[in-house]
Amino acid sequence: MDFEANYEISRTVDFIRTRNFTKVALQFPDELLKDSTRVAKALRSELGKGVRLYVMADTAYGSCCVDEIGASHVDADCVVHYGHACMSPTSTLPALFVFGKASIDVNACAESLRHCLSTASKHIVVLYGLEYAHALENLKTVMAELLQFSVSNSSVHFAEVACSSINPSGDKMTEKEQLYSHNGVSDIEEVHKYANGNSSLISVDCNKLEPCTKYSLGGLIWNMPVGHKMEDYLLFWIGSENPAFTNVVLTFNNCEIVRYDAEQSNLLKDFAYQRRILKRRYYLVEKAKDANIVGILVGTLGVAGYLRIIQQMKELIERAGKKSYTLVMGRPNSAKLANFPECDVFVYVSCAQTALLDSKEFLAPVITPFEAVLAFSRGSKWTGKYVINFQDLTASTTSEVVNDTEEARFSFIQGGYVEDIQPLENGEHKESSLALAEATEKALNLKNQCTDSVLFKGKARFGAEFFAARSFQGLNMQYENPLPQSYVIGRTGKASAYEDEK
């Protein structure tokens, strides 16, 4: 495909010119990095000397997010993001998204869609990967022609791309409102209802005078007449099997979904894998309930509201009587996570499309903030609803019911009722007369009595306890062999195979 068109050079130039940006960071994912110089060259020739361009690569977190930290190293005014994007709102910098244009056989796609429509007795919502957004208009026309002669009471709704640029969220407006205002949806739509955790927005559409529910997910928005549930619709996804699609499957896990693979031009209906993910997440939630020490992994430094959600998580964890540590470690891998063996579970705060992190290699499970809310607030139940975006979570869980029954908690991991550790007391002793007696009692307690259960069964209540239980306590003077040892010549060579090992 045409290079110019694919990278939308002229649109990018317009965007930069109209807003008078002078320092622009161009963010490329690894697979597009090879084109970065050409893109930069093309842009420079259009923009002239007044605008400085920087190419950014190798983002610290997911390449789908706007790397604001990287951009602020060069003090950039805006970021142009290339390739697959999660469309998470940014917190400081405006961003333009260039999705790229993947090739698609519109006629074949429309044919499959028509086939779906005739076989399924449901209305259809068409969702797609953002790289196919360019073909949407085309598809709509083809579909209109196809449906001209067919008699069907089912209709097709097309989701729209919410926006292709994002302004940082202001203080007063929520990200959501910001998002819609850019798409030309008037700000008058006041009736907010964050129901179902699907960030649906009931609004009165001025044009049609018909109330409708707005859904938005991964940069797409679509309307639904009020009273219609998503379950009544068939989801038609155009695109490959990527995280964006997984998110759709998880969020609308009650809906019937078909996927049109644009590369193979065929229709797929088997999503056992994605369904299995949901069950697996359910297991992880159950496992997290047993945790005493929780590590909060900071998986983004850009997505708007990440500090707030971290704070919210901390409070949540504290309320549950558990201990939390906040860790910033870039993109987590098994070696990095295993450096914190005291953590029983990690909560990964990141953009929606990198949120699901699961691997057999991880020593402790990694869960999303939504799952953490399920796991750490007593009385909340897994109903099958699933929220991946943490922005939706901040809104939906503010009025949380603290159902404080004293009943022992049932742990499905241990297969029985377990006693949760009581929230740490802040050094206050109710029975002060007995305080001294209690202290002396504890002083005579045998330590290291059950280090095994502290170390390997997650019985530690806080990090220090874990460290105290370790068998190696650092260098100490009483070595097995107190005599000084004569020096020996160490190995030489590379660690992968030293000289003497060759």
């Binding site: 299995r276 099958g384 029985g416 009692e441 992968s496």
Partner: protein, 843 residues
């Protein structure tokens, strides 16, 4: 039935010497429930106003349908002894009224946990043995359990009617059969030498053995006959009883007692002469409707019949005559009252078994003395679902003090540690309740020595707990119960409608509460798992779950899932090495199978992480031929820090080794829980750390580098040591007549089972078959067997051991390889095993 009001019942509850708490235990189908029914019919306490419209025996519908007991049910009996029969009673008593709290327990091995719970709250046990089938595997199991709890047993040889009607055996032959049954039982009991409990063996001549026919409702002990004959022979009852059992012969011709059979045709054993023959005679007269002969005989025996009863014929007549002559209730109840201990007597020696704390504190003393004025000590042994769904009665026994409605109690759960706040609640007892038949009656309070049900505590008690007064902060809990069976059969459940999931979760929680044995867990793949002791147990659990705890919401149940174990056959073919992610550290390891019996020793807890290293080294070197120094270098056990695998340090002179020990152990705990083949637990593998190369900077050899590496090297060493799968194997015991043997063998062969013992029960046409049967093959085994033997064979399966599957799981196409890929598929893993090259690194 005895009509009572709650107040009257409550009055007897204060007389601690006149209470007997006892359970009825036996092998399945030996007639416990039938026998209990006949007792209840005669002496069961029933609420006054409810009399007439409730049936005591009306329990769960499924119990009736299957003809087996599933849940243990408690029933109170009232019995008034005559002064005359009490004249030989030496113990303490208050008057002649007795309250007997009887718990009928299930006999099927799948429900052994119910028996355990019943035994804890009783002091005596009536062991029921079928006189034809004799002592069976479950008789033995429950008897051992009872003795372990210091429960005094009495025996009844049941189904006497079979001797007379079905088999029609002669007196001497019958005597030998009974003798053998009693001896077999005594052999088991003799192994329990307990100075405090004294001699627990049973002797007919001492009156601790009864002979009963539960179905026909009659029973006798030698006491009955001794009383009858004592006057006639002019000797006292005790002397007469001795003569009625054992090597005592009487010759009516010479009217002499001898110790040997004189050989004269009229000389017969005392038991045969005076007990067996008269019964036989009466029965045959009745059966032949020789009424003209019958009435004078009955008159002689002092049995009176009502006129309408005289009209009966054949079996019905026989039943009525025998019930009038030798009523089961009086024989058995008198035996219990005479020979089973009252709570106050039993608690004197049971306190050691029961109380966890020091035996000289006030709580131990109060339990020992069964002191109603002492501090409350109450053990909740099970939770009984109440009629309003979702609530439970906490059912247990008061060992000291009294529990009252509205009282504030301290609830100490199974994980409570004295002095800490863990698993401890202080709550009000909303109501104390006693069972009167099917009806529950609230009472003000219940004193020690009695069983009680409490309302309002179910939220705080998970399965069992110790209750004491609010103020008694020093009290230690009562020891937790030990179960003899383990949950090995598992099914995955899910709800048909996804939105029912909260219902399912809630249902599983309640199920776990209502059954002491069932375990509800979740798999890594997110499937809910229910684990039970056997197929039947699971079936009942699932039924309860769906109908009672989920309000009928539909569930989908998977095929039974069996968990396997992974082990190795040989020592690793080479030392394998894995590098840390940064390539700066290397671990070298080998795997080898453990010595025979070592894994079992770890399972039993004879060897474990908490042992003193020296004593552990001693056992290992003496029993398993380990090097003494090596035995001291065991780093850990796993999985769960106690499992039957270990890591041993074989390195010499490695610097910083201590520093990475915890990380290696963490990797091992993880790997041993999920083996390399199919992520099943490992078993009986010993991992030897051969060498370690570490980076000189501590930052490069942290947990992050070592833990994943340790896991990989453990997998690599497992894969190089000829990995194998272990499958669980049941010990099956089947009793069947000879003509059914062919069918049994056929089914066993087809199910990969093998018979290792086949014994004919002397004096019976019955065979006792013991076989090993893989658990995988056991599903549907009972029904197949029943079909193949036209219902004559009934198997009892108990988990016995792990058996190695000979085929190589690494070789494609073998049975083990197929199994591995099936398991992996079920767990949602890649069907292909991760190859060795992923775990092992080369220099």
């Amino acid at each position: 039935m005895v009509k009572f009001t709650a107040e009257e019942l409550r009055r007897i509850m204060d007389m601690k010497h006149n209470i007997r708490n006892m359970s009825v235990i036996a092998h399945v189908d030996h007639g416990k429930s039938t026998l209990t029914d006949s007792l209840v019919a005669a002496a069961g306490i029933i609420a006054q106003e409810a009399a007439g419209d409730v049936r005591m025996t009306d329990t769960r519908q499924d119990e009736a349908e299957r003809g087996i007991t599933i849940k243990s049910t408690g029933i109170s009996l009232y019995y008034e002894m005559t002064d005359e029969s009490l004249k030989n009673y030496k113990g303490e008593r208050n008057g002649n009224e007795y309250l007997i709290n009887l718990i009928d327990s299930p006999g099927h091995v799948d429900f052994s946990s119910e028996v355990t719970a019943a035994l804890r709250i009783t002091d005596g046990a009536l062991v029921v043995v079928d006189c034809v089938e004799g002592v069976c595997v479950q008789t033995e199991t429950v008897l051992r359990q009872a003795l372990g709890e210091r429960i005094r047993p009495v025996l009844t040889v049941n189904k006497m009617d079979r001797c007379f009607l079905e088999l029609q055996v002669e007196g001497e032959e019958a005597y030998q059969t009974f003798l053998r049954v009693i001896e077999n039982a005594n052999v088991i009991m003799a192994t329990y030498e307990d100075p405090l409990l004294g001699d627990v063996q049973v002797y007919p001549e001492k009156g601790t053995v009864a002979f009963s026919a539960g179905l026909h409702g009659w029973a006798f002990t030698l006491t009955n006959f001794a009383k009858m004959y004592a006057a006639k022979f002019g000797v006292d009852e005790a002397k007469m009883m001795e003569r009625l059992w054992g090597e005592n012969y009487f010759d009516p011709a010479t009217k002499k007692w001898t110790n040997k059979n004189t050989g004269s045709p009229t000389c017969k054993r005392g038991f045969v002469q005076f007990c067996y023959e008269p019964i036989k005679q009466i029965i045959s007269t009745c059966m032949n409707d020789q009424k003209d002969k019958l009435w004078p005989m009955l008159q002689k025996l002092g049995v009176t019949m009502k006129s309408e009863e005289k009209e009966l014929l054949g079996k019905a007549l026989m039943k009525r005559v025998m019930q009038n002559w030798l009523p089961a209730s009086s024989a058995l109840l008198e035996m219990m009252i005479f020979h089973l201990p009252s709570p106050s007597r039993a608690q004197k020696y049971r306190v050691e078994n029961l109380y966890e704390g020091p035996l000289d504190d006030i709580y131990a003393t109060a339990i020992r003395n069964c002191d109603p004025e002492g501090p409350l000590m109450l053990y909740v042994s099970k939770m009984i679902p109440a009629s309003d769904k979702g609530r439970f009665f906490a059912f247990g026994r008061v060992f000291s003090g009294r529990v009252a409605t509205g009282m504030k109690v301290r609830i100490m759960g199974p994980n409570y540690v004295p002095g800490q706040k863990k698993d401890l609640y202080v709550k009000n007892v909303q109501r104390t309740v006693i069972w009167m038949g099917k009806k529950q009656e609230s009472v003000e309070d219940v004193p020690c020595g009695n069983t009680v049900a409490m309302v309002g505590l179910d939220q705080y008690i998970t399965k069992n707990a110790t209750l004491t007064n609010e103020k008694e902060v020093d009290a230690h809990p009562i020891r937790a119960m030990k179960f003899s069976v383990s949950p090995v059969v598992r099914v995955a459940v899910q709800c048909k409608v996804a939105s029912d999931l909260p219902k399912l979760v809630e249902g599983l929680k309640r199920l776990a509460k209502s059954d002491p044995m069932v375990v509800c867990t979740i798999e890594e793949s997110g499937e809910h798992i229910i684990a039970g002791a056997g197929e039947l147990h699971l079936e009942i659990c699932l039924k309860d779950l769906q109908e009672d705890f989920m309000g009928g919401a539909e569930i989908v149940v998977s095929d039974p899932v069996v968990s396997f174990r992974e082990t190795v056959l040989e020592k690793s073919c080479r030392t394998v090495m894995s590098k840390s992610p940064n390539k700066h550290n290397r671990l070298y390891m080998e795997a080898r199978p453990m010595e025979d019996g070592l894994a079992e020793a770890i399972d039993e807890g004879r060897i474990g992480p908490r042992d003193d290293p020296k004593s552990r080294a001693k056992i290992l070197s003496e029993e398993f031929g380990w090097d003494k120094d090596l035995a001291k270098k065991i780093w850990c056990f796993g999985p769960e820090t106690t499992g039957p695998n270990m890591v041993v340090d074989m390195c010499k002179g490695v610097q910083y080794l201590n520093e990475i020990k915890d990380s290696v152990v963490a990797g091992f705990q993880w790997a041993s829980k999920e083996g390399a083949l199919a992520e099943e637990n490992m078993r009986a593998i010993c991992f030897e750390v051969c060498d370690v190369v570490l980076h000189a900077d501590a930052i490069h050899r942290g947990g992050g580098q070592i833990i994943p590496t340790a896991r990989r090297v453990i997998y690599a060493s497992q894969l190089t040591a000829k990995p194998r799968l272990l499958e669980p194997v049941y010990l099956v015991e089947i009793q069947a007549p000879e003509q059914a043997l062919g069918g049994i063998y056929g089914v066993l062969n087809q199910k990969r089972g093998h018979v290792f013992e086949e014994l004919q029960r002397p004096g019976t046409p019955l065979y006792n078959i013991k076989a090993y049967l893989p658990v995988v093959e056991s599903f549907g085994f009972s029904s197949t067997l029943r079909a193949a033997t036209s219902g004559q064979a009934f198997p009892q399966c108990v988990f016995d051991h792990w058996d190695m599957m000979s085929s190589d799981p690494l070789e494609p196409g073998t049975q083990a390889a197929q199994l591995v890929s099936d398991i992996r598929k079920r767990k949602g893993l890649k069907e292909q095993m991760t190859p060795l090259s992923e775990f092992e690194d080369k220099l």
